[in-house]
């Protein structure tokens, strides 16, 4: 990572004066590598914008519309294939709407976009991920 190589530069210069910075650099590299492979849990990540509410509002609307449209379209495709117009179209219209509503419910309850919903049974390392999911 960049940070490691950037930090290495002043140390090289400093070595002429002190000599012990070599050890210091090694511990710092080790620390940086450790942090990189084990990102701190629960640390507030920078990958968040303050405008969550705005993003959420847009998502609820699109999720509902997209569910209905995609459901109906899949139904229409099935009907074209099986020649049963409008049977599947009607069925999938309702199922698609349901899917849209379920997506919204998942989003609002902080399940993120995980397909297959129900119980909030997550391992600890996924908990911080779902916290971020809410914001999307």
């Amino acid at each position: 990572m960049n940070i490691v190589s950037d930090k290495a530069k002043p140390d090289k210069q400093g070595k002429r004066e002190h000599g012990k910075t070599d050890v210091d650099l090694k511990t710092r590299i080790a620390k940086a590598e450790h942090d990189f492979t084990n990102p701190a849990k629960g640390k507030r990540s920078r990958a968040e914008l303050p405008a969550d509410a705005l993003a959420l509002v847009g998502r609820i609307a699109t999720e509902l519309v997209a569910g209905t449209v995609v459901g109906t379209f899949i139904g229409w495709l099935l009907d074209q294939w099986l020649g049963t117009i409008p049977l599947f179209m009607v069925i999938l219209f309702f199922l698609g709407t349901l899917a849209g509503m379920m997506n919204i419910w998942r989003m609002a309850t902080g399940q993120g976009l995980k397909l297959g919903y129900l119980e909030n049974k997550q391992s600890d390392d996924q908990k911080s991920e779902t916290d971020d999911d809410k914001k999307g």
Binding site: T37, R46, A47, A55, R59, G67, K121, E129, K135
Partner: protein
């Protein structure tokens, strides 16, 4: 007077035809190329100095890098590192595309559903393939909610499948609709200001109101442009996370 939606017309700048297909070079394509060129130039130029203490350009490039790097590691984890270049490219492409579109006389290619849908469809197909390669047929357990009552399972599978196919649509529609609506709104307010001024006499000073609204809305559109690039990218990360770590 131009119609507020006239800004979205695709004009062929160079007429080309291949095997009977119209592959003309359009204004939309021109702005996509400009976006790619500008972002490449910006990132290359900004990182050219590699200063210890970054200047303005380098700081902004590094911020973008770290922002996406954090996004990938907090949403996908370490398994997401190999996909970082793609996600970073996606974010920069959308961000620059959205921002370029705000410049007067330019063209917003993200306001075309074709563009956003193709992006979303590639992501959808790619993520599905990653899930299949990583998990084989276990991938299908995606569609069976754990702990659901047996009677409901066939019903739930259909809902889950539909809800899976909703992804590319909601992903693309969100970006496209935001850009389309925002830019239309800008043009409507701008048109209103011009029309009121055109009415002349006592009405003319009233034009200041839509003009002020326009200033505010332009600021809002800058926010929306960044926000929608962010939302598109973070959702890609989440889909990737789902594919890599099945529930």
């Amino acid at each position: 007077m131009h119609s507020p939606v006239e800004q979205f017309t695709i004009k062929a700048l160079l007429h080309l035809e291949l095997f009977g297909y119209d592959i003309s070079f359009s204004n939309s394509a021109l702005f996509m190329i400009l976006t790619v060129l500008l972002s490449t130039i910006f990132l290359t130029f900004a990182m050219r100095g590699r200063q210890m203490v970054p200047g303005r350009m380098q700081a902004s490039a590094e911020m973008m890098y770290e922002f996406i790097s954090d996004m990938v590691s907090s949403n996908v984890g370490n398994a997401g590192r190999p996909y970082f270049p793609f996600i970073f490219t996606l974010f920069v492409f959308l961000l620059f595309g959205n921002m370029l579109g705000l410049i007067p006389y330019s063209y917003t290619f993200t306001s075309q559903i074709v563009v956003t849908f193709v992006l979303a469809a590639f992501i959808f197909i790619g993520v599905t393939l990653i899930a299949i390669f990583k998990h084989g047929f276990h991938f299908l357990s995606f569609f069976v909610p754990p702990g659901a009552p047996k009677v409901l399972i066939p019903f739930l599978i259909v809902i889950e499948v539909v809800s899976y196919f909703v992804r590319p649509v909601s992903l693309s529609v969100r970006l496209f609709a935001n850009m389309l609506a925002g830019h239309t709104m800008l043009k409507v307010f701008a048109g209103l200001a011009v029309m009121i001024t055109g009415a002349g006499g006592v009405y003319a000073p009233g034009a200041i109101l839509p003009f002020l609204a326009l200033v505010g809305l332009t600021g809002l559109e800058v926010l929306v442009a960044a926000l929608q690039a962010y939302v598109f990218t973070i959702l890609t990360c989440m889909y990737l996370n789902d594919a890599i770590h099945l529930h």
